[in-house]
Symmetry: C2
């Protein structure tokens, strides 16, 4: 599909891309670049690419497709670093969780004749780094592209075909709308998870070892997201600030209202609140976005047997 | 192990108990009781017991072990109803998520010579009703007993042996401490899940179908708990009010502090907050309380293949 693909950043997303590009034979040459010498060495040990570069400009030289997979706060620096080395006609895309900020950071540096098409695969796990990637990460997951008004139609089609070959379903969205949608489906759950795990770690009357021991009663679900990469999430907070603050404000208002219902023992209100959320789970399962089995189909941690 | 076991309430917990008692041959006779005629009929269709009763007093007559598995708000009514029919020397226990309130509701009704030992198996799924139970529910899960100061040692040993035969690990705890521990590991996560799903359903600029479509980016994790039984959770809120309000207050304070760090773009503070929660996940996995695989080992919803 492509001659040379350059992957700038080789964490969970970058290394999953490397693996699926190899498996699906989507490029003749995979050039891998990361600032960290030790991460680059690890990528080489894993045999993820054909060439390895600490200098991103060197990696993108002659590349037909450049995929930037770095924390969103680093997008501008990367764009500046690679701008001069980009081949005319090349496609440059990214995988960042915020889109307006990435466009503001990258677009000014992309030279005329190079096609910059921002993107965001809705896929991931709580793990990070080149060891955590796997070729099936994008299968049956949405990939949202947020093309700019002057985006070349042929280049857009080519990028869509690439993501389809990785197993993704494609969507297009306005960048600002993307940022609002992701603030609620991704950034808010993430921050709430970090927060609840923090709150539980700070108690005086309940020990952390008790919290861990009895975590299967609900708490453990939140610790998964709270184990995610802190650098990535710091950057998301700084680069989607307005939408995130709006969602946090709504969440807090709703929580205050629930708190009041508990204090005044308003059982009917609590029952209503707890009833109206049930159908959302059902819709998510019907949409193929989660599994129908109890407890996410978790296996028993000790015996390796299904809990269902 | 027992002659007759009476199960008062035949939802997720009660019906799981029926199944494991049968599998492990822990009783000669399983008497099942529930107020709802249709639920009782369903239990009979499933062949969960040996006798079926809408009258709880009838079920507990001659029983050596009585297990009350009803929403905690119904504990008092059940205790009153069965008190006169309890056999001298019988053990009465419960499985409620709050312990102080259950003791206050039930203990006054239990006649002299009957052993009342409150309990709480830390096990469950987001499903409810007699169809949702399964014999392995309690395997490798903690069961907390909160014996009263005058509890008979032999009766306590017998109840412990019963739970061990169901696959559980046993713990003892003071009832008030139990209620504080559960407020943080179970009740807070549950309320936060209900709240975030509610908030996401109420947006004007993002549609519910968008929330569902892109839920795999984090939100879907919360919808599992938010699909839990509303009656059970209304009762928990009403019967562990003080501890829950305390945990919600702490959570809200911490969230306000995080919100402020986002508003003022305090990247270092955010990075610290997001780093210190990582080890909790690690400890939970080491304690055998969750699986080590990414995404809880979820299978792909569409293809039935592992995502890892």
């Amino acid at each position: 599909m492509f001659g040379r693909i350059a992957l700038v950043g080789i964490g969970l997303i970058g290394s999953s891309l490397a693996r699926v590009v190899r498996r699906e034979k989507l490029a003749d040459h995979i050039a891998i670049s990361t600032r960290s010498a030790s991460t680059l060495r690890r990528a080489e040990e894993l045999g993820l690419g054909d060439s390895y570069h600490t200098d991103a400009a060197e990696a993108v030289e002659g590349a037909d497709l450049v995929i930037v997979s770095v924390p969103v706060g680093a997008s501008g620096t990367v764009a500046q670093a690679i701008a001069g080395a980009l081949k005319p006609g090349a496609i440059v895309t990214d995988v960042g969780s915020t889109k307006r900020s990435v466009i503001d950071q990258m677009a000014p540096h992309v030279p005329h004749g190079v096609h910059f098409i921002p993107g965001h695969p809705i896929a991931g796990t709580e793990y990070s780094g080149p060891d955590s990637g796997f070729a099936a990460l994008f299968e049956d997951r949405w990939c949202i592209l947020t093309p700019l008004p002057d985006t070349d139609a042929a280049a857009l089609d080519k990028l869509k075909a690439f993501w389809r070959a990785c197993g993704s379903d494609l969507d297009e969205m306005d960048p600002d709308h993307h940022d609002r949608v992701l603030a609620v489906v991704s950034h808010l759950p993430q921050l709430i998870s970090y927060n609840i795990v923090g709150t539980a770690s700070d108690l005086e009357t309940v020990t952390e070892s008790e919290v861990i021991k009895y975590s299967a009663s609900g708490f453990r679900d939140f610790t998964r997201l709270a184990a995610s990469d802190p650098t990535m999430w710091r950057d998301v907070c700084l680069h989607n600030k307005e939408a995130i603050l709006e969602m946090l404000a709504r969440f807090s208002e709703d929580l205050a209202s629930m708190q009041r219902a508990i204090r005044w023992a308003d059982g009917d209100k609590l029952f209503d609140l707890f009833t109206r959320t049930r159908h959302v789970r059902k819709s998510i399962i019907e949409a193929g976005q989660d599994v129908e089995v109890p407890n996410f189909g978790r296996q028993s941690a000790k015996r390796g047997e299904s809990q269902t």
